[in-house]
Symmetry: D2
Subunit: 368 residues, 4 copies
């Protein structure tokens, strides 16, 4: 089967492996007429690049994007947009020993069980490098959403035991610290914690939150393509994510109805909710309040501590994974979460355009 395409109207198809010739994405169904240059995409890709800080891999990845199709005279044409990033820094030699055994916490065994063999270089298709295509596609969607007054802001909410203080929330510092936290103090502590774990030859997990402001009410398609269901798929499909929450998420199972229910009120000329436990989505449809999503990200499975596992033939082996690894994937995954949310939302908004017969007849009478 073909699992590398996401979306119903706006479809993105990512391709590429960690150590192949290149990675990329084809975005099909993106509307015509939006101004687009490589720099619009590059600035998102740069956010997922390993930085110069010691909490990311020392691998150098240039990740320069090339637009191969779908843009003419600086504007999208409505035809498929093909984006390419060449792999330049990958050294296959680093990974050759991995071929013979299954790394704990990795997809190695699953790939072998499924396909009969695997591209073992850097995890092949299961590498985090696969997200390059997602980010490139999300950059386009975020730009168009921005033109409709919709903004997405993802950030690190916690790293291991270090959480941000909601009272110190400052969106302006998210891109200013190596862990992408909206709280400088917490960021400093998280940085120290990561260093500590790395010194123990270990890795660490964390939580990423994404807030989307300006979404009109009415977005989402019951009953299977509800906005929260599509978002859950989008976010859970990111490697290392093991839980997805919407609004108050796991807390709601401990609430009473009177605590959880968001009542409605009328403010500034429109209906809105007085609280937002539901995270902007009720019954799978946006309510007009901010959309709040959270992903729980596991620690990087590649660690330098010795671990026990088996070879392909089942015989035991103790391994130490060499190579250059991020001690934490959370900061680099922040932009991936933001981009997947953007793709999902724009797709749902396109879908909603045909929700009413009156919309369609008005569209074809007026062409807006």
């Amino acid at each position: 089967m073909s699992g590398s395409t996401f979306g119903n109207h706006l479809k993105i198809t990512t391709w590429g492996e960690s150590h192949g010739a290149a990675l990329g994405v084809v975005i099909d169904g993106f509307p015509a007429g939006m101004e687009l240059s490589e720099s619009d995409i590059q600035k998102y890709l740069d956010r997922r690049k390993p930085g110069t800080s010691s909490v990311t891999t020392p691998r150098k990845e240039d990740d320069k994007v090339e637009i191969l199709s779908g843009v003419f005279e600086g504007k999208t044409t409505g035809t498929p947009i093909s984006l390419l990033v060449r792999n330049t820094s990958q050294k296959s030699g680093d990974y050759s020993q991995i071929a013979s055994y299954y790394r704990p916490g990795h997809a190695d065994y699953g790939f072998d069980a499924k396909y009969g063999f695997r591209d073992y270089r850097g995890g092949g298709r299961s590498s985090g490098r696969e997200t390059i295509g997602r980010v490139a596609a999300g950059a386009l969607c975020a730009k168009l959403l921005g033109q409709m007054g919709i903004t997405l802001t993802a950030y690190t909410k916690s790293i291991g035991p270090v959480s941000i203080d909601p009272n110190r929330f400052d969106a302006s510092v998210i891109k200013e610290n190596p862990v992408c936290m909206p709280d400088s103090d917490a960021a400093a502590k998280a940085f120290d914690y990561i260093q500590e774990c790395r010194n123990e030859l270990d890795s660490v997990g964390g939580v990423i939150e994404c807030r989307i402001e300006g979404v009109p009410a009415g977005i989402g398609e019951p009953v299977f393509d509800k906005l929260d269901a599509s978002m859950a798929k989008a976010l859970m499909s990111i490697g290392a994510v093991k839980a997805v929450e919407v609004g108050d998420g796991v807390m709601v199972s401990t609430y009473k109805g009177s605590e959880d229910n968001d009542g409605f009120t009328y403010k500034d000329g429109k209906i809105t909710t007085t609280t937002n436990h539901s995270g902007g989505i009720m019954g799978g449809i946006s309510s007009g309040s901010d959309i709040i999503l959270r992903c729980h990200v596991k620690p990087t499975p590649s660690i330098s501590k010795e671990q026990s596992t088996v070879k392909q033939d089942g015989s035991p082996i103790d391994i130490v994974i060499g190579g250059r690894h991020d001690p934490v994937v959370v900061p680099r995954a922040v932009v991936v979460v933001e981009c997947m949310a953007a793709v999902t939302l724009l797709d749902a908004m396109i879908s909603n355009m045909s929700a009413r017969a009156s919309y369609i007849t008005a569209f074809y009478n007026n062409r807006i």
Copy 2:
């Protein structure tokens, strides 16, 4: 758009509203030759029916299923299976006042914002009755999975603050208590807690867990139709679910890599994991270990306490929701979770049949 179809190869399309003439599902792509009778389906539907206990709605819902197509001489034919459940007990009069305002915690406002008007009777399409189609479809899938040695067991893990004791886990009591817990003591306490909340005119949430045993390694389609991503969509699409976890779920964000990684070992002639923090899915592909899924379910939004909200025109109103409501939806949602997991898994297993060129050539050389 059309959001009422789920699945890639095996597609289920549910239809019907709370107070319409009927509800149902069309299952397309279900393989030919499986024995199927209405009783196979009815026993699953009966599990989601309100019981006689005081923790479920006193509404009487017969929910008798009729097979309208796709079965001949007691076996599935490979053509679409259409299943119908007539609505018999619904009284629209109960709901007429709802038409004028937006209930807190409900999809009312979203539906109006999207479609311009709504079937306000009992929540219309956003009613829990929509899950009848899901359960009916899941019953078929669970039967076929069972013939391959795969079993799904969903149960209530907690109700409000009352959790099961893992040491007292007893699957045999799940269907024996009104809250569907695998721990009779916890079940009794949960029952009391629900009663207490109901007496306070309030409602309560909880957690549902689903364990799937016997799944072969290799199931799931990277990178967007990963098994966990598809499960997340399936479960988050169930009304009232606000968070989905796989394996250790939200806990992984606090782990170190050395704590989280599942190493491999060789046991009973096959490769397996020594621990199962990953919940049987690594890199989006099944590992052969038990699959563990969890949903966090919010309290029933319909409560008898007075609440503040607005009418369609934005004017404020204080409401008390009458009618017959479940004080908790968790126990009745247990079978829905199990059934959605069954549909998702069977669809993924069908998909996996073409993962290798050698599978396809062997298939057409031998027809198995």
Copy 3:
């Protein structure tokens, strides 16, 4: 796999067999707010019913449609519309002998080869009765298209050697004669020809043409969901259709470019074509000129002449097919063609609403 769903945004899923309990369709993604009653659908279903004339089967089929969901207070709600037609007149006894052999020209062998066994009663799922769902769905689409000034007119162009005279074309007589021809003289001759063939215990084929007026330019999604490609699939999926033409169709292979090319001109305030060899579709996108489609329909394979074939075990058998058969399927298929074209066009028009970034931003700024 699941082949009973058609459409990308507006999805129709038909179900049901010739002699099952019922047949029907679920229409998902149909926009909210269109007035709809059972009579809107019934009048289309009545067009496909066998008439009282001697050129159709003497079977009595009431085919009364029931709307089970998706309509509230006389208007579509945007949720799935489930339509049901009970089978009432089917006598399974008529067909029992068919179980043992493969009828020439029928799908019997294919079904057995695929599924391992088949519902042999009246052809099961391969029966013409399957088109009930298509017609019911098409009725809705045609109504909404009509509200946008788009009209579809299908008719019989020829029966065996008897063709209509284009100079005598009169759309008003199509529904007035038993062969659905827009030319009364040709209709009378075709009627006689069918009688003659029936007296020879034989059957006859013909050509159905469909003209769609009022389609705006710009509809169709290159490169695989081109309007002509989607129409070709829609029409070729109708049982007995063996060729599909657009515009001048098969003639174009004999043309020179200077004969085939449709030039553009400016008339009545809009750009249009001076000729219409292309049948209103160029490069897979509507040009604003009338869309012209043609299907070539084979003779009814069930004939009363003796034929040679084999049993399931390969042993030869000479058969005479009893039962009540149409000597020609063309007249009853006319409305099926019209309805499939309506579904395909409306789906493509919905798709086109997001073709431009400016459409989407205008939509969400104004909500039209």
Copy 4:
């Protein structure tokens, strides 16, 4: 909407414009383990390249394919296969004047009507160069089909009035003459006819036939993804195709049932048909007989004769289309037809693997 993806299980997504940086295709869902090198693909691409003969464009197109992903150690990995062909010979200057008017017979007006503007260089996305991706994808599918004993043979059946003589059919000469006919005499006459038309500054159409041998019975998914319906979509989506026939195609409308019906017989240990009017597909499912498909291709719309049309503002203009054009597209489209048929068939064969419950259980019991 997103119309550049084809297929249900095996999905191909083509991208690229005539004069963009590159063209290509992503093939998702192609099974793992098939040996694949660039030469496997290049030999198909070379068949669609303009030759050195005077009946094709003098444009030089190298069209060298590069495999960017999905192949490791010479074998497909089961992950998306991304194929790239750089544009090297395109000179945009040739086309700049086209920007201002709508060429007769071209998609120019449709693209403008749809997207608001267009990439006018060489037709942009509507160029025949778009088929590069189709051919590259088809090459892979044809290879795997070949390993199952299935062969596809497409050829030119007629050019204008010059048809092949069925009695002189010789498959071995198809690739030996510039018009791809399986009859050297007809090929010579067709060649002369094309020259004649070109001297008249005109172009010419023709018919392409494709025969598929070795297809097992049972392939195709009723009722909308019937094998003939999918093939019709696949072939009609090729630019310039205006009609698609299966088996006897347009002739069946003139047949009587007794002439058209293919009876069954038992030969060489299997059930087969005595005749093949149905072209190997009955009721949308393969019968095991050869599959016969035919496309009617219009003349190249770009001709050097003067033609009348309009500019974007509706004002009239007389034009002579310069540049380097094929006087006939038929010979170069032969391989495109063959490749689209291969993609469609392999996709349908994968789909059929889950047709029976017994297949699935056997698969997971044995893994074949």
